[in-house]
Symmetry: C2
Subunit: 473 residues, 2 copies
């Protein structure tokens, strides 16, 4: 049902077998936590990406940094690949065992290591998910803002440099990971960063690891910044006559420096999808879903400013959601957009773009993407973290009709080319994985990617850490 | 007059001579922009650090990325060290030519490459200083917030991961450099990052370079985030009965999530110094100098909140500075603190600490540092970007009295040990350079520093990029 790997990636598929001695050692140490059952392997051999490749040979459920170090030490000794696995929600094939090896399942590493509300910091094991984290710290009056669509693990979010709807105000994982415990490619345990808010102490290994997609080491513990829950929160929706009008409202809001906390675009298709999925009755037109954080007076002031901008661009049907229940309903619907969208076309798979561009070029980029998708006649929807210049157009394709995938890829190519032309990026938050390796070279240049590969080779000389991701060869 | 290098660093001083062929090539290409005059070399062989080492053998004034690439290519061919030089304001010996070689003076690379106010971004050559940048963009209604004490170059600020008084609200160079043009150790020119606000496209080479102190490449062009000038700005000073009370006011302000833009501590000695230097009449007691940015209503609200907190801790003598002239006077005085402090003891040198700690431990760290310095009878003053948990205690030492330097180093050791004990960092914004290499190992651990060295060795196999900095051997 899924797609094969693109032809140029097929040579990757040279599995490196787990030798019997290593399997014995894993089974001795981990017992039932080491599995070679096909169903377990298959569950760990896929993610939300469209590709079908053979599953990993072994799955090991780790419960501590020492567990992970033990697996990686064996893998280093036997030159066998390891792939960290959190919740399986990667969109870019990060979890696919293109060269076989061991899937290191971190989902049982779901312990809060330390909560320091007085410092606005927390340390978690890598398998803690974003929702669990916020549940665990609710009593402190603090929250962690980064919210990709899925209830992903903090390890996976760090590995892909994830963001979500709050990044326009609070930054991404890049800005919010203070320190890491990392198992290196030799199986050694190191610590990067501190709990201080800033530091000039040597190379920024924390940020080298964040976004490295499991290719430089396994992050096992993560120290994060937290934020006080805002005194007041105000959410608002507003409907626009066109995508262009909605995006231009966003651009002006950002240019004026309004400290908006969330600013999400949904096109008419996306609104239709969440209406169906969440039984809502939102007007099926381009919509901004916004949120303001601050004091009561400040959120009112921010909202008034943005409402005036929106009206200037033809925005209408302003609705305010001030109670937590109303807000939760709206944001839950937004977070369901990915699965809601898939239900627009039962049995479909999605090909999702993830470009992020300088804000002044956003309207052109979103509008052109929409026009091209409509012209191609391919079912799609658009959602966007537009305050950041980041948007996703999801093409819904029938996996049994290869021409639909080809059309989607062609449209995606155009969206990415346009982003790069405007000095933007091919991926704002999903990562490179298997799918975007060509785009990375287009964006960064061969010399820059060569420097990344030099770093990879130095830190992982046997190429055992999630091989084939970011760059295949 | 200055100090010799510490004994353990002396083996570093093995100069690698610039061969005649390389000198010829430099003179041919650069003419009068290549100098071997002793006065020029000496000017480029020192910074604000206390160490005396021989100057570089050659100074080359570069005017373009291509110029820098030409110098580095020759240096790579002949295995000769290169040291980027901006304004010479490093505090940690970054500019000292411990192994001879070529000082690459970037101060003539002071061109604005591109200003995109509509995207809140700007690209500058590395020699542009922070004040020049803000002058050049004044007409756009935007500003660049990072402000180390000196009018440093953006290249130098990137190299040391600088911050300053606005970091509590706007972040440091880590958060505000979007992309770079870099001349690598082989003389190749690469580009990192884009103008998009966020990206998940491969390894974060931008942040690997930021803070690398010239040891991985020469940054020649820098793309930065800008911010709209706030609609309203309100500065305030408040005097406290003790350092502890001032810092506790800060801690509570941060814990409550007040979006304060600047929050600076001056101890009584620092206030006395700026009073003398800037002919002010501030009360000579521990003082917070604060600034609030936002709408008129919002800054008033923030200031009221902080004033109430301050009163609870015994703060008094609140004064508001609302006009740009009043504000400029206060902040200019703050920025003069380093030189004002030195005038407390004519002919002195300063040994300055730079620890940054989790905010709840800040009061203990600052108070202990003050008590220990008083007990040692060494003239000193304290200033701090306390909103970040970062403070500097500057010990004023007579360079002719070795015992004073020894006392200062001993006090510094205690301050750093305490910061590390509380999971903080030995350097919040000045960098490691020559002076803090032992502290880096104490803080990060030998394994983590070994990983940094692996990256260094991979990207600069001939060790020509500012050798001896961050790690000596």
């Amino acid at each position: 049902m899924n797609a094969p790997l693109p032809a140029h990636l097929l040579p990757l598929l040279a599995a490196r077998a787990v030798p019997a001695a290593m399997l014995d050692a894993l089974q001795t140490r981990f017992g039932a936590r080491c599995s070679t059952a096909l169903a377990v392997r298959e569950q760990h051999g896929r993610d939300e990406s469209p590709f079908d490749v053979p599953p990993p040979e072994v799955v090991v459920y780790c419960e501590s940094t020492e567990d992970v170090a033990a697996v990686v030490s064996l893998a280093a000794q036997h030159a066998v690949p390891v792939i960290p696995f959190g919740t399986g929600s990667s969109l870019e094939g990060h979890l696919l065992a293109v060269q076989g090896g061991v899937s290191i399942d971190l989902s049982r590493m779901h312990r809060m290591v330390a909560i320091q509300p007085e410092d606005l910091t927390v340390t978690v094991q890598a398998g803690v998910t974003r929702k669990q984290l916020n549940d665990e710290i609710r009593h402190t009056g603090l929250f962690f803002p980064i919210d990709p669509g899925a209830d992903a693990s903090l390890g996976g979010m760090s590995a892909t440099r994830a963001s979500g709807t709050n990044a326009v105000r609070y930054g991404t994982m890049r800005e919010n990971v203070l320190g890491l415990t990392v198992v290196t490619a030799s199986g050694e345990v190191i610590h990067t960063g501190t709990r201080a808010r800033k530091s000039s102490a040597g190379y920024d290994l924390t940020r080298l690891m964040v976004g490295s997609e499991g290719t430089l080491g396994v992050m096992t513990e993560i120290t994060l910044r937290l934020y006080p829950l805002p005194e007041a929160v105000l959410a608002a929706i507003c409907t626009f006559p066109s995508i262009d009008a909605a995006v231009r409202t966003t651009i002006q809001t950002i240019q004026m420096g309004v400290p908006i906390a969330r600013c999400e675009l949904l096109d008419a298709h996306a609104v239709r999808a969440v209406n169906r999925h969440d039984k809502l009755t939102l007007t099926e037109a381009p919509m901004l879903l916004m949120e303001f954080h601050g004091s009561a007076a400040s959120v009112k002031e921010q909202a008034d400013t943005v409402q005036q901008i929106a009206i200037d661009f033809g925005g209408a049907g302003f609705e305010w959601a001030t109670t937590p229940e109303e807000r939760t309903k709206l944001w839950t619907a937004r977070h369901h957009a990915y699965f809601a969208g898939m239900q627009l076309k039962p049995g479909c798979r999605t090909v999702t773009t993830d470009t992020c561009v300088p804000i002044s070029h956003l309207a052109e980029c979103v509008v052109q993407a929409s026009i091209e998708a409509e012209a191609a006649g391919l079912l799609h929807y658009i959602v966007g973290h537009v305050g950041d210049g980041n948007f996703h157009i999801a093409y819904l394709i029938d996996p049994k009709i290869p021409a639909e995938r080809e059309t989607a890829e062609r449209l995606n190519d155009a969206v990415v080319a346009r982003a790069i032309q405007f000095d933007g990026t091919c991926t704002g938050e999903h990562g490179i994985g298997l799918h975007k390796q060509g785009f990375l070279i287009d964006e960064a240049g061969a010399g820059t990617v060569a420097m990344m590969r030099t770093v990879k080779h130095a830190l992982d000389p046997k190429n055992i850490m999630n091989p084939g991701k970011i760059f295949a060869f």
